[in-house]
């Protein structure tokens, strides 16, 4: 048991530094806490839904359209799922820890508040990432199965109508290869993760500012909606004839506060079979990292001063 030794006295005065291990402990606890909130069954239901969409739409009309609409629908649902999960989970975490006084027992240990905030954020992001990896694997499998089936079925159709010329077959192969399983699908999932990460960081910041979960959820959704329309806002700001100076300044402030989420919108391009260049992936990743760093820094400034 504890004694008043010189070594312990020296240890007590040693400053507490950032510890990745401590952050990992908090992140892992957060992830398991969220897993307990029955997220996994929800995820499985989602996967089953996507599988149903994939299987249900297997009649051959136009392979390009069919594969495109499958990707568009499933990636769209995935995007909504990851954003909603990120916002709601983050908005719930801090108030719950405060209500249960778990926050008191954690922060009365030698735990810097930044470590706590970062641990919570990483916990949510780890779970989103895990979910997306699972769904990405399921999507890939469905898409691969669907593209093979569609290719064979369409070839059979061409053969039946006596249109199976080498050119027609090559065209079908090219369409199916472009619209089928490619790296583009994974980049789209990566972009969805980046967007969800930025939105989750915004939710964390708002959660530190607000005392109400509902407020955090509503405002973060508003920020997300505004974030998708940044291009329109910029257009308004830089067009003097469109509004008064006051309105334009207010809009500029809004544009500065909200992240430009349209930067991560590559789902439509992927659904249309366009190639996502590496440069675009780097850009998206860099932009997301920048947004997250800035929002996390502000979150730290707010949370370190927060009275608990």
């Amino acid at each position: 048991m504890t004694q008043d030794s010189p070594s312990s006295a020296a240890a007590s005065a040693a400053p507490v530094r950032f510890s990745p291990r401590r952050v990992w402990t908090l992140a892992y606890a957060t992830m398991t806490q969220l897993m307990r909130m029955k997220i996994l069954p929800f995820l499985l239901v989602f996967c089953a839904l996507v599988a149903l969409i994939g299987v249900g739409g297997s009649s051959v009309v136009n392979p390009e359209q069919q594969l495109s609409s499958f990707k568009s629908m499933s990636l769209g649902v995935l995007q909504i799922f990851s954003i909603v999960f990120g916002i709601v989970a983050t908005a719930l975490l801090l108030p719950k820890d405060l209500e249960d006084r778990t926050l008191y027992t954690i922060l009365s240990k030698p735990v810097p508040r930044f470590d706590y905030v970062l641990g919570k954020l990483l916990g949510v992001l780890m779970l989103i990432a895990s979910g997306l990896v699972i769904i990405d694997a399921v999507l890939s499998l469905i898409l691969w199965t669907q593209q093979s089936g569609l290719y064979d079925a369409y070839l059979f159709q061409l053969h039946q109508t006596k249109q199976d010329t080498p050119e027609a077959i090559a065209q079908v192969r090219e369409i199916v290869a472009r619209q089928g399983l490619t790296w583009n699908l994974h980049w789209a999932v990566w972009a969805i993760f980046l967007k969800a990460s930025v939105v989750t960081t915004v939710a964390l910041l708002l959660s530190c500012l607000a005392s109400s979960t509902l407020f955090t959820i509503v405002i973060t959704f508003c920020v997300t909606i505004i974030g998708h329309g940044e291009a329109l806002i910029r257009e308004f700001v830089f067009q003097p004839h469109l509004g008064s100076t006051t309105k334009r300044i207010a809009t500029l402030v809004l544009a500065a506060i909200c992240p430009d989420l349209a930067q991560f919108d590559i789902v439509d391009s992927v659904a249309n079979g366009e190639i996502v260049p590496w440069a675009a992936v780097y850009d998206m990743t860099g932009i997301a990292a920048l947004y997250m760093t800035v929002y996390l820094f502000i979150t730290h400034l707010v949370f370190v001063e927060k009275e608990l």
Partner: protein, 287 residues
């Protein structure tokens, strides 16, 4: 023990800003306390007297409006001060999905403990708080008394020199409460300083060396418990197997003494209801 006080509170004032249309609220006003290393100090007072606010400032969870606090000489505003302190909040909750042992591992990891040291320390704390049998059970199924004991175990996991306990026996049944008080006495014997708040005065009387009484954010009385509760002009004498004749003689002797000396009462001392409860429930547990 060193001369550095375990807890030092200097002219602490804490004002909470009011919301829209509400004025500011002064929870603590110019409070000064010094808790010596190794003692059990009780901070008592009615609800809203500022006890919990004072504790939160000491733990760095709240910032003082004026004044300062320190733990073993390290300002509470520094995270490093938390190396020396373990905290049990009122009615603590833990992550329900973790078992008792996992909970202690979680808190130990936060303090930088790992490996065998953490495992053996967690086992030691589970044994100390009597939770060995429940160590593998999920915390969600723990009773209130078990949660309090787990709270004590997590507070002690990193071998702090100071324990801060906020209403440690609130809502706990008499047996659980007895265990917690025995643990506090045990901590003192091991050299751990304890700062405890409660409004269960009889329980505080049993464990505290010194007490401070707070009301409306101010310290209204402070000192050694014995000094504060002693009735200077009265003397208590408890006899065992005294015959009626002896008692009559004592009565006569007091009468014959004259002056201001008076025998105020005599009779059989009573056990406390709590002791009776514990005896009765323990008997029921026996096969």
């Amino acid at each position: 023990m060193s001369d550095t006080p375990a807890v030092s509170v200097n002219h602490l004032t804490k004002v909470f800003k009011g919301g829209l249309g509400k004025g500011a609220f002064r929870a603590v006003h110019d409070l000064s306390i010094e808790v010596k290393a190794g003692e059990v100090y009780g901070l008592i007072g009615p609800n809203g007297s500022g006890k919990s606010t004072t504790m939160k400032v000491i733990l760095g969870l709240l910032k003082p409006t004026e004044g300062d606090t320190s733990i073993f000489g390290v300002p509470s505003t520094e995270v490093a001060s938390r190396h020396s302190v373990g905290f049990l909040p009122e009615n603590p909750y833990f992550y329900k999905h973790l078992t008792g042992r996992e909970t202690l591992h979680f808190y130990g990891s936060l303090c930088g403990m790992r490996g065998e040291k953490l495992k053996s320390r967690a086992s030691e704390m589970l044994a100390l708080t009597g939770l060995e049998d429940a160590a593998a059970r999920r915390v969600g199924g723990y009773s209130k008394g078990m949660l309090q004991r787990l709270g004590l175990a997590q507070a002690l996991i990193h071998e702090p020199r100071l324990l801060v306990l906020d209403e440690p026996t609130a809502g706990v049944d008499p047996s659980g409460s007895r265990i917690i008080r025995d643990l506090i006495i045990e901590f003192r014997s091991r050299g751990i300083t304890v700062l405890v708040t409660s409004h269960l005065l009889e329980q505080m009387q049993e464990v505290c060396d010194r007490v401070g009484i707070m009301a409306r954010g101010r310290m209204v009385r402070e000192g050694r418990l014995e000094d504060l509760i002693a009735v200077e002009n009265q003397t208590e004498m408890v006899l065992e197997n005294a015959s009626p004749a002896l008692l009559a003689k004592i009565h006569e002797l007091v009468k014959s003494e004259g002056g201001d000396t008076r025998l105020l009462r005599s009779g059989h001392p009573r056990t406390t209801l709590e002791r009776l409860f514990i005896e009765a429930t323990n008997e029921a547990k026996k096969p």
